[in-house]
Amino acid sequence: MLILGRRLPAPPAPPLALLQGLPRLPWVWAVAGLAALLGAATLGVLVGPVHIGLGTVVQALLAPIPWFGASSVDPSQASILWSLRIPRVVLGALVGGMLATAGAAYQGVFRNPLADPYLLGAAAGANLGATLAIAFAPGSSLIGVNLVPLAGFVGAALAVAGAYALGRTVTGLRNTIGLILAGVAIAAFFNAIQTYIQQAQTNNIRQVYSWILGRLVTAGWDGVLLVLPYVAISVAVILLHRRLLDALSVGDEEVTSLGISARRVRLIVVVAATLGTAAVVAIAGTIAFVGIIIPHTVRLLVGRSYRVVIPLSLLFGAAFLVLADTAARTVAAPAELPIGVITAFIGAPFFIVVMRSTRAAAL
């Protein structure tokens, strides 16, 4: 470039792809995840005892939008869609996405592939809380909220807080091992109490059992509105920790030498994941396997960086649970199977197929 006769140095060319081998969210898989979620949701809305066609669903979805206002959808069909099927699909997506994201986060902070959202006793605590409420205060509510989910939420939160406090006091063990053992102890203790109450109160055993196996029974949007804020905050916090979860994979000591406090990261991520897990467990029961199978499937297919694993677990976890729930309410219709049975029954063989067909070393 010539300005007033002086040649200025050319600006340095912006380097393209300066560093190779950095993890990037693969667009193909992100689109595939969105498509899977959309497909599962469509199926979930269409399938049910009352036949409702795709056209009707589209019309019903467009009805609240002003320009498409004049809808010819039968009010009873619209009511089924808006107060039963759509909220159930949305709840399923929230629960599945939350459990898979929390599972991935737990695996990251504990550097343990077997970690799941219930590692520190969240499930045992929720089960105990809900069992206590069902056994001793059936049908009661507190400030307008049904007591069972509230007790489940408090139980899960207390169990994890207890495990964390206990694990922190264990010295001489690696920090994460102390926490995991504390979680095992708390879960065993809570399970013992829960089983005792369940056996002592046999008239409630069916209700307790069905709660433990998990279900997405919902009428209207109450469940969705209850869990939404917790899931939103929890997922947002975990997403913000993607880089730090990758950093933790070099171990507590080395990450400390890089100026990152492993303890602080672990505490914040565990609190966030527990908050979301406790909320969805309180509404949907302790649905198993989603938190393990989904993150591992994503890892096997796409790679191990949490920058990729966390967002894709969110999408595929949501799609998977919506699909599992659709199966749960149709396989033995009109009866409904517990969703935990379906997640394990579909999830485990699917996981084995993925594991066998890819590099198992990726775990």
């Binding site: 560093l19 081998g21 880089r243 070099v250 030498s257 100026g259 191990r304």
Partner: protein, 268 residues
């Protein structure tokens, strides 16, 4: 250019005293090797400077007490290469080296152009650029050691702590890694503190040696002053010859003290 000072440093694990009453000053741009028999406390001292163990006494970096710095501030001044760095399977070399930029990022921060530029330059300098996308578990021993050094360099800290940089490397890779550290020290004015058990290598690469025995400093000085046959006999219980190399350099050669008895012969 940065000076490291230890004054009256004592370190204990549980109730066992590992290092006691240690006074040591490492000048700016100097290579100091910590030598001594196994269990002398060499690694522990490095870990204390990086504040990975608690200690009594005072450790200062350019006059600033280490215990007053935040984790990030310390990591911008001191980088450590562990003896056996943990290298997560599946992580690429560039992603691993980019972790070294952590002290320059905020808690929720994301690496930017500058960080990528710094890492790209380091990878090129350490001849790792062609391996940037390779998973760590596919690297050879020498390449892994270079990747670990690259991550420490990415911290752009003036003090480099290195724990047994040559263990598990063959003689060619040992020279390569030590020449690299020495060249980087000259180029970037690094202060290097290395725990070394290979006396011959320590005696040629380090400016000064600090000989530790049982957590106490017994000698400090130039290789020619510290690596003497009587000192090694006393502190290592070893029979050696010390050879003079390249002027001030020293090589330590183990010598078998007794000839083996012929088979069948009974030694009284």
């Amino acid at each position: 250019m940065t000076k490291v000072e230890l004054r009256g440093v004592g370190i204990a694990y549980e109730s066992e005293v590992v290092v006691s009453e240690l006074d040591l000053t490492v000048s700016s741009g100097e290579w100091l090797a910590l030598i001594g028999p196994n269990g002398a406390g060499k690694t522990t001292i490095l870990r204390a400077i990086a504040r990975l163990v608690s200690y009594q006494g005072e450790i200062q970096i350019d006059g600033k007490a280490v215990h007053n710095l935040t984790g990030r501030e310390l990591a911008r001044r001191v980088a450590m290469v562990m003896q056996e760095p943990h290298m997560p399977d599946g992580m690429s070399v560039s992603q691993y080296v980019l972790l070294g930029r952590s002290p320059h990022l905020t808690y929720f921060g994301k690496e930017g152009r500058t960080d990528h530029r710094v890492v790209a330059d380091i990878l090129e300098r350490l001849s790792l650029d062609r391996l940037a996308a390779r998973p760590l578990d596919h690297l050879s021993g020498g390449e892994r050691q270079r990747a670990a050094i690259a991550r420490a360099l990415a911290q752009q800290a003036p003090v480099l702590l290195v724990d047994e940089p040559t263990s598990s490397l063959d003689v060619g890779r040992q020279q390569e890694v030590l020449e690299l550290i020495d060249a980087l020290r000259a180029e970037q004015g690094l202060t290097v503190i290395a725990a070394m058990h290979e006396l011959t290598l320590a005696g040629q690469y380090a400016d000064r040696l600090a000989l530790l025995v049982g957590g106490k400093l017994v000698a400090v000085g130039a290789p020619a002053d510290v690596l003497t046959e009587p000192a090694i006999a006393i502190h290592y219980h070893a029979h050696v010859r010390v050879l003079s190399l390249n002027g001030s350099g020293r090589a330590v050669v183990p010598v078998r003290s007794h000839l083996p008895s012929p088979p069948g012969e009974v030694v009284p």
